[in-house]
Every structure is written in C-alpha cells, then in structure tokens.
C-alpha cells in the first residue's frame, strides 16, 4: 500500500510539474485577464514547440488596454522582476530571465503600446540569443 501511495505521489508531483508559471505573480494576470473581451490568450505545449527548442508558451494580448489593466500587469511584473537574473527594461518593453532550473530557461516578455499590450511567458532549453535570432530571422 505504501508503495502505491508513493507511486501516486510521484505521479502527482509530475503532474504539478507541468503547471507552468505557477509560483509567478503573472499567473494572476493569466487567470484573471484572459476572460476579458479584448484579450487573446495563446497556450502551446512542448509537442507544438519542438522546432523552437521551447517547452511552453503562454501569452496574453490585450487590445486597447485600459490603464487599470496595464497597471495590474506592471505591478505583477515588478514582483517577478525581483526574482529575475536578467533585466532589460525600456519604457515600452521589458524582458526578464528567471533563474534556470535543470537547463530550462524561463522568460517573461512584456510590451506595451496604446494599441496593444502583450505579456508572454516562455519555458524551454533555447537561450535568449537563440530565440531572438530565430524570430528576427523569420520576420525581418
């Protein structure tokens, strides 16, 4: 019986392990803002991201964001920025790289303009340079 319980606990642990961005403050933004009318949410798992060497992609795009929405996300971002190893911040753009775990990188991207606000959370083995080069190459 003990073995079975242990087995179940391991399975549950594995299950919880796939709960991406849990423990980050921006999770709240994904949970609460995704249901709003002007919001598009994109979620992709590792099966769809093989070509990018990524394992998880989660984004929120808010069309014509209100000041309240913008403030909400920026407040949450500040919390996560405190944990980040790499910061790139401009008035409209932010990038945070969170501490790696077992070779997996965790990134948060944020971009704001009056027309739209984009918040992206990414997990994967790809380095920031690889991601950047890939998307620049593709769309330039």
């Amino acid at each position: 019986m003990k073995r079975r319980i242990l087995f179940l606990l391991i399975l549950l642990g594995a299950c919880l392990g796939v709960q991406a961005q849990k423990g980050l403050s921006i999770q709240k933004a994904f949970d609460e803002l995704a249901v709003k009318k002007n919001v598009t949410e994109v979620v992709m798992g590792p099966g769809r991201l093989k070509n990018y060497n990524l394992s998880y992609f989660h984004s929120l795009e808010i069309k014509a964001p209100t000041a309240e929405e913008k403030d909400c996300i920026e407040t949450l971002l500040k919390d996560d920025a405190a944990k980040a190893e790499l910061h790139e911040e401009t008035a409209e753009h932010r990038l945070y790289e969170l501490p790696q775990h077992k070779g997996t990188h965790y990134y948060i991207f944020y971009r704001h303009s009056p027309q739209s606000l984009i918040l992206i959370y990414i997990e994967g083995k790809a380095s920031l340079k690889q991601i950047e080069s890939y998307f620049r190459k593709k769309h330039n």
Binding site: C15, V18, V43, S59, K138, N140
Partner: protein
C-alpha cells in the same frame, strides 16, 4: 432366490448374529472396496475403524483408504469469491483511474495549442499568433 438377492445375502454378514464380530467388518470392508456399501454402512465402518477393536492389521488398508478419502474430500464445496478483497480491488481501480487521467492530462498538456478570445476557445493558428507576438517583441 434370485441371483442378486443371493449375492447380497452371501456378501452381507448375517444380521444380528455376527454383527460386531471382525468378520462382519471385514466383509463390509470388502463390500466398501466394491462400492456396494450404503452411506449409512460407510458411516458405521468409519466409527468402527476409530474403535480399539479395529486396531488390527487386517483393517490397515481400509483404514488408510477411509482416512485418506475423509481428509482429501472437502467437507463443503468452497466457493472461491471472484474478488478476494473488494476494498483492495477498489483501491487498485482508483489508482488505475488516476494514472489514466494523469496520462491523459500529460498528453493534453504536451500537445496543447489553444487560442482563446474572451475566455472562449476559438479556431485559430496558435503558432502564427505566437510568431507575430514574438516578432513584436524583437522587431519593434
């Protein structure tokens, strides 16, 4: 006297006269081996074989046979339950259900590719949206 009656009379010990004598039981033992004894006689024979009177080498064979058959014959037919431990079976079934659900969840998470607008899942190319959003991050 008919043949059958004659044979019975010949094989049966004389009622009353020699009953209780060893020859009576010897004859009954022979009839037992020929499968001619009734259930009542067999019961009597068993009781006799347990008595001190029966501790004679002549009855060794019948004693061994009766003992063996009594020991090897089940007293009542045992009905083996289809499920020995119902609670254990339920626990195993529950474990299997959890494993299947977790497997399904993992598979779903691995291959997830969803686009939701205002909380409603819509048919859209998640990969294209991802590329557009990432491009905006790197190509302002």
């Amino acid at each position: 006297m008919k043949n059958k009656e004659f044979a019975t009379a010949l094989n049966s010990p004389p009622e009353g006269r020699d009953r209780g004598g060893l020859s009576y039981w010897e004859a009954m033992a022979e009839r037992y081996f020929r499968a001619e004894t009734t259930e009542e006689e067999e019961a009597q024979l068993c009781r006799f074989l347990c008595s001190s009177q029966a501790q004679d080498a002549r009855f060794d064979e019948i004693r061994a046979t009766v003992s063996f058959l009594n020991v090897s014959r089940p007293k009542s037919p045992k009905i083996r339950p289809y499920v020995k431990h119902p609670l254990r079976a339920v626990a195993v079934a529950a474990c299997l259900c959890i494993v299947v659900l977790l497997g399904w969840y993992q598979y779903h998470q691995h291959n997830i590719s969803s686009v939701r607008i205002a909380g409603e899942t819509v048919e859209a190319d998640a990969q294209q949206l991802m590329q557009q959003q990432m491009a905006e991050m790197f190509n302002p």
